[in-house]
């Protein structure tokens, strides 16, 4: 180290002598964190580019031609093709398949366009980055009037920035030698070129330069300071060298270059086409589909643009502030002898509280406050703390990056939509989980051990809020207004996300703190950092998939708030409590987010990891010496035994409570579409009971446990789930023995007791249900324990050493838990084929042959009309046979009006309300129909065929049994070919196909309306 004497500036504070020792540099950990922020910011900008280029593509004349000439006719043909398909589900699948096929070339073309745009943007960014050493020469500066006074200054862009001059030894040999020596101390392998801005009177410098060519520009004011304050001068130089050492230069300038490339290549055309959507087109074209003219869309887009710009600006500055702090800490660590840099920093100006506006701007600027910088130099470990705003910003930026890619990726995924979007969100889920876990893990090292929730709740909720808000303010949100969530939906989905993230934070905090506890000898041997990484990695593996799934389902906000089965009644022959039970269990079982989650190995494997990782890291768990572990296993086992008992008793109870026609599926059971058969209600009821027991076990474990609740609760849940799985087969065997669902006599054998091929899936489902149920229960148990002061009592007990005594069953418990984890993991693996069957797209039927449409699906539909049919017809009697399970019901309807027109179109109008009535097994049956549909028809040889059905007035079909509404579904344009007999004012319609024979018989009377 060069000795520069002891002369200091007058501003240097008294009493700040040399430090006792070097301050540790936070090093790669902090650099990696800010690198991740940079990458996320760049991803957000590039993802916004995807939206911008997509909008430009939509406005191109070639896109318009493609849409008008190829896509739109193809859509029309697809509608005709699917019209004859009678099964609604089949029809929807086929329609989706055909529509995807139609749009495929269009979306492929859009993807190519967007890819080309991104390439151009990247090239521009590369050029801008390559030119960044010359950026300072181009800047906004104020032109000075001739009189030299300050009046009338104009701001303009000109080449007026600094012109750097290479500092050569012949200019100042001692200065160059001194700087080179300093650079070698910082990094022996990389000495930057020294340049001086001889025109700059400021006392500053700047680090820049292309890879392999680092440069440091020193202002002349700084160089002159060398004479007056050599230590301060060297401190600033060290600060700039630290930027090179920390590899800030490339990332910083590349990020800025990418932003400006985005502005030049994507944002400007996007803004122009947002304001003038038809600037490039002669007609509407596909732009009309984008609903650019929708009310509020322009404001939405411009607002999203403002948010994007503001977010990028604030996020970039936040990252730069962190980099500045890191550079300060690094430079200060190099200067082991003095306090020159803190003293220099203390002299920097900062707005006072009275200057509120300037203070606000300074706080979001590129440089942190001097006080913060001095604090970072004194305590570099504080740099590793993650603030609430930082987490919110990270969530927002990550969400913007993800959301803006959603539309394009979703379109390209076609029928693999859910899979594609989930895979797209997986890296972002990993980013969020890793960031929060890392923040909590570092915070656990810094923070105190009391009131942990106060430390964990803010970052988790901030991350969830930022990520959730991105859905509303992303650039693509204006184009997806149909998926715009209501306030309630937004609050619910964000709350679910926040709870999930809070659980992550609690688990990480608990494991890390206990690993670093006094009872852990590993903490003394430099293992904490490795352990922290292991915990963070485990958190990523466990939480990233659910976070990705959350994002996929949050795209359609109704997924979180819709109970798909509720409109359909369960079978029950009017037994109200049983039907309610069927509804509830069906709601839970078919709740889409939960149904998809239990069709993955995510929760079982996650549960295993939640226990296995701390079991390896925390010696007390590893050795089985904690009584709390034993207690968790006991609680879980007790709940599991209760589950087995329930499984044994339930068949008897069901047999006693329900008549045989309900339990026996071969009987006359009212089994409506979508309704649940007895076996389903029975199974789901048992699974719900096991989930309840798991929740109870979780609550008791959390309420009575001492520490490591986030680890012990999964232990109890897993034990209960496995025993519950055993109970499932016990119940099956008992059911067979008592002939719960009928079956042959003497069917009681060992076979039903033996797990079958579905065992893995069932255990996976039990674990998933239990894990979800135990979240709320665990929180309640914890809250009760906190409120009643049990935890404090337990802490006192633990401090007395009782909890640390080895337990005699410790080794056995650890072995049992290992076997349990292996079993759950194997079950998840065995369930993979069934998981795949759930996640793979539904197989659509091939397009039906146009038997009733000679022109074919793609051909023209030539009207073929029978003059007798033309006009409006009132339904005088509509005899319909409803098939309900194995039973049939005959109902009679009246009130509809059917109109046949000469242009080949027909309308089926239910009027205000068409009612059908009948009877089924002693119960009254009533179907109420509303709404109207239309279609094209052809009448040939006393057969009417239909195509192109559409709803002209939405309505519904409601089923009432004994006056109680049991089912309701939206009216759909379903038409089947009719055989007709028309004579004068009378018309009769019957099924034209043999398969439908006897299903209906409609008698109509000609009305007074023209209808033609």
């Amino acid at each position: 180290m060069t000795d520069f004497g002891d002369g200091g500036p007058a501003a240097r504070r008294a009493g700040t002598g040399p430090r006792a020792g070097p301050v540790p540099d936070p090093g790669r950990l902090l650099r990696g964190r800010t690198d991740l922020r940079f990458a996320t910011l760049v991803a957000a900008v590039l993802a916004s580019s995807v939206v911008a280029f997509g909008v430009v593509f939509l406005a191109l004349p070639s896109s318009e031609r493609m849409f008008q000439d190829e896509v739109r006719p193809c859509y029309t043909r697809a509608e005709r093709t699917v019209a004859p398909v009678r099964d609604e589900r089949e029809r929807l699948n086929l329609r989706m398949k055909l529509v995807n096929r139609c749009a495929r070339p269009y979306f492929a073309s859009e993807a190519r366009w967007v890819g080309s745009g991104l390439l151009v943007e990247s090239a521009v960014a590369g050029v801008l980055y390559g030119l960044h050493p010359w950026w300072p020469t181009l800047r906004w500066s104020r032109a000075r009037p001739r009189d030299g006074k300050g009046r009338g200054r104009r701001t303009r862009l000109r080449l007026g920035g600094p012109v750097t001059t290479r500092l050569r030894p012949e200019d100042a040999a001692d200065v160059v030698a001194e700087l080179d020596a300093l650079a070698r101390e910082a990094d022996p392998n990389r000495t930057p070129a020294w340049l001086v801005d001889a025109r700059a009177p400021t006392v500053g410098g700047s680090a820049y330069g292309l890879p392999g060519r680092p440069r440091v520009r020193l202002d002349m004011g700084l160089v002159l300071r060398r004479h007056e304050d050599p230590e301060g001068y060297l401190a600033v130089v060290r600060h700039e060298l630290a930027h090179h050492h920390n590899r800030d230069v490339g990332r910083t300038y590349l990020t800025i270059a990418i932003w400006w490339a985005f502005v030049l290549t994507a944002l400007m055309p996007f803004v122009v086409l947002t304001l003038c959507p038809h600037a490039l087109q002669s007609t509407g074209g596909p732009v009309e589909l984008g609903a650019l003219g929708a009310p509020g869309k322009l404001a939405h887009r411009l607002g999203a643009l403002a948010v994007l710009g503001l977010t990028v600006y604030l996020a970039r500055n936040a990252i730069l502030r962190t980099r500045e702090l890191h550079a300060d800490a690094t430079a200060h660590a190099w200067d082991t002898a003095g306090e020159a840099l803190p003293d220099m920093v203390r002299t920097l100006p900062w707005p006072t509280r009275r200057e509120a506006w300037r203070l606000c701007l300074a706080r979001v600027g590129r440089h942190p406050s001097p006080a913060r910088r001095v604090e970072a130099m004194a305590r570099p470990d504080l740099l590793l703390r993650t603030g609430v705003w930082e987490m919110a910003g990270l969530g927002l930026v990550a969400g913007l990056a993800l959301d803006n890619l959603t539309l394009l990726v979703g379109n390209l995924s076609e029928e693999y939509l859910t899979v594609g979007l989930t895979l797209l969100a997986l890296p972002v889920g990993a980013l969020l989980a890793g960031s929060l876990a890392g923040a909590v893990e570092r915070g656990a090292a810094v923070g105190s051990g009391t009131n942990r929730l106060r430390h964990l709740l803010p970052p988790a909720t901030a991350l969830a809020a930022g990520f959730g808000c991105s859905r509303v303010v992303s650039l693509v949100a204006a184009d997806l207004t149909v998926f715009g969530p209501s306030t309630g939906q937004f609050a619910l989905s964000t709350a679910i996300l926040a709870v999930g993230l809070l659980l992550l934070a609690v688990w990480v905090d608990s494991v890390v703190r206990h690993h670093r506890g006094a009872d852990d000898p590993a903490a003394e041997h430099g293992r904490p950092r490795r352990a922290g990484r292991a915990v963070t990695l485990a958190a990523i593996v466990v939480w990233a998939p659910p976070l990705a799934m959350w994002h996929t389902f949050a795209l359609n906000p109704g997924d979180f708030t819709t109970l798909y089965l509720r409109p359909f009644a369960a079978s029950g022959h009017g037994i109200v409590w049983y039907e309610r039970l069927g509804e509830w269990t069906g709601d839970v079982y078919f709740y889409l987010p939960l149904a998809m989650l239990r069709s993955t190995p995510v929760v079982p494997l996650g549960l295993v990891l939640l226990v296995a990782v701390p079991a390896v890291l925390v010696p007390r768990l590893r050795a089985g010496t904690g009584t709390d572990v034993i207690r968790a296993v006991r609680v879980g086992a007790a709940a599991g035994c209760a589950a087995v008992l329930t499984a044994t008793v339930l068949p008897f109870a069901a047999r006693a409570a329900l008549p045989s026609e309900v339990r026996n599926p071969s009987g006359p059971v009212l089994d409506l579409p979508g309704g649940l058969a007895f076996t389903g209600v029975y199974t789901y009821t048992y699974m719900l009971a096991v989930a309840f027991l798991q929740a109870a076990a979780a609550a008791v474990t959390a309420g009575t446990g001492r520490r490591l609740r986030p680890v012990l609760v999964p232990v109890a849940v897993a034990v209960t789930a496995v025993l519950g799985g055993v109970g499932l087969y016990v119940g099956r065997g008992v059911s067979a023995c008592v002939r719960l669902t009928g079956g042959p006599p003497h069917s009681c054998s060992w076979a039903p007791f033996v797990p079958d091929a579905d065992a893995g899936l069932r255990l996976q489902e039990l674990v998933t249900w239990g894990a979800v149920a135990s979240v709320a229960a665990g929180l309640i148990g914890t809250a009760v324990a906190e409120l009643t002061g049990r935890r404090r009592a337990d802490d006192r007990a633990r401090s007395s050493g009782k909890a640390l005594r080895p337990h005699r069953w410790g080794a056995v418990t650890v072995g049992a838990l290992a076997a349990l984890g292996t079993l759950i993991a194997c079950a998840a693996a065995a369930a993979l084929p069934q998981d795949y069957a759930v996640w793979k797209p539904a197989a659509a039927t091939d397009a039906p042959q146009p038997a009733h449409e000679p022109g074919g699906a793609g051909g023209s539909f030539v009207p073929a009309v029978d003059r007798c049919l033309i006009g409006s017809w009132h339904v005088t009697a509509w005899l319909r046979t409803l098939r309900v399970g194995s039973s049939t019901a005959h109902v009679r309807e009246t009130g509809q009006i059917i109109t046949f027109r000469t242009d080949g179109t027909t309308t089926f109008d239910n009027g205000r309300r068409a009612v059908s009535r009948g009877a089924l097994g002693g119960h009254s049956l009533e179907v109420t129909l509303t709404g109207a549909t239309t279609a094209r028809y052809r009448a040939r040889g006393h057969t009417i065929s239909y195509s192109g059905g559409a709803v002209v007035r939405p309505g519904s079909a409601t089923l009432l049994i004994d006056g109680v509404r049991r089912a309701r579904q939206e009216v759909t344009p379903t038409f089947v070919p009719d055989h007709y007999t028309c004579a004068g004012d009378t018309l009769r319609l019957t099924p034209a196909e043999a398969a439908d024979a006897g299903n209906y018989d409609i008698t109509l009377r000609r009305g007074t309306g023209a209808g033609a």
């Binding site: 000075r144 001889a198 700059a200 009177p201 680090a207 600060h239 800025i256 920097l348 440089h367």
Partner: protein, 175 residues
């Protein structure tokens, strides 16, 4: 023009250097810091004098990875170079024969520069035949330049100008 320009640059640099040296009486720390950098500063100034004098406008623009110090140092060398340019231009307009040596002799009176320290046997320069009006005009030009381009207060500008041109110059000139 080029030859004349080079001649003028040389004259101006010599005159400015002399001014800077004499200004050490008023701002010794500042002058001591700038002396080693005089060559670099003068090269930069002559490459684009206008931009060199507008450099104060750029204060505070340190770039994304700058240190962030908006403190502005007082650079005397560009100001003296500008003042020297104005003086040479003024003298040229007055058709006075000006030479580099003449300037040095004029401004080295009574305030030896660092290169003259210890040179006992160096020949004492001869008196310069400038009138009091000429010297007063030179001092006025220097002070005006310091105020206009350096933003200095009139008092400080007068003080520096007096030091740079010679406060006692008027009394030594032949009337």
């Amino acid at each position: 023009m080029k030859a004349r320009g080079e001649l003028n640059e040389s004259q101006v640099a010599a005159l400015a250097r002399a001014m800077l040296d004499r200004a050490a009486a008023v701002a010794p720390e500042q002058v001591a810091a700038e002396r080693p950098m005089f060559g670099l500063l003068s090269r930069t100034y002559f490459s684009d004098p206008r931009r060199a004098l507008e450099a104060r406008e750029l204060a505070g623009h340190s770039g994304p990875l700058g240190f962030g110090a908006p403190e502005v140092a007082e650079l005397l060398t560009p100001l003296f170079l500008a003042a020297a340019s104005a003086v040479v231009a003024d003298l040229t307009c007055r058709a006075t024969e000006v030479s580099q040596e003449l300037m040095r002799r004029l401004l080295n009176r009574g305030a030896p520069g660092p290169e003259e320290d210890g040179s006992a046997d160096r020949q004492v320069p001869a008196p310069v035949a400038f009138t009091g009006d000429q010297l007063r005009a030179m001092r006025r030009i220097v002070a005006h330049t310091l105020v206009r381009h350096g933003g200095l207060s009139e008092e400080r500008a007068d003080l520096l100008a007096a030091a740079a041109v010679g406060d006692a110059a008027v009394g030594e000139v032949t009337e």
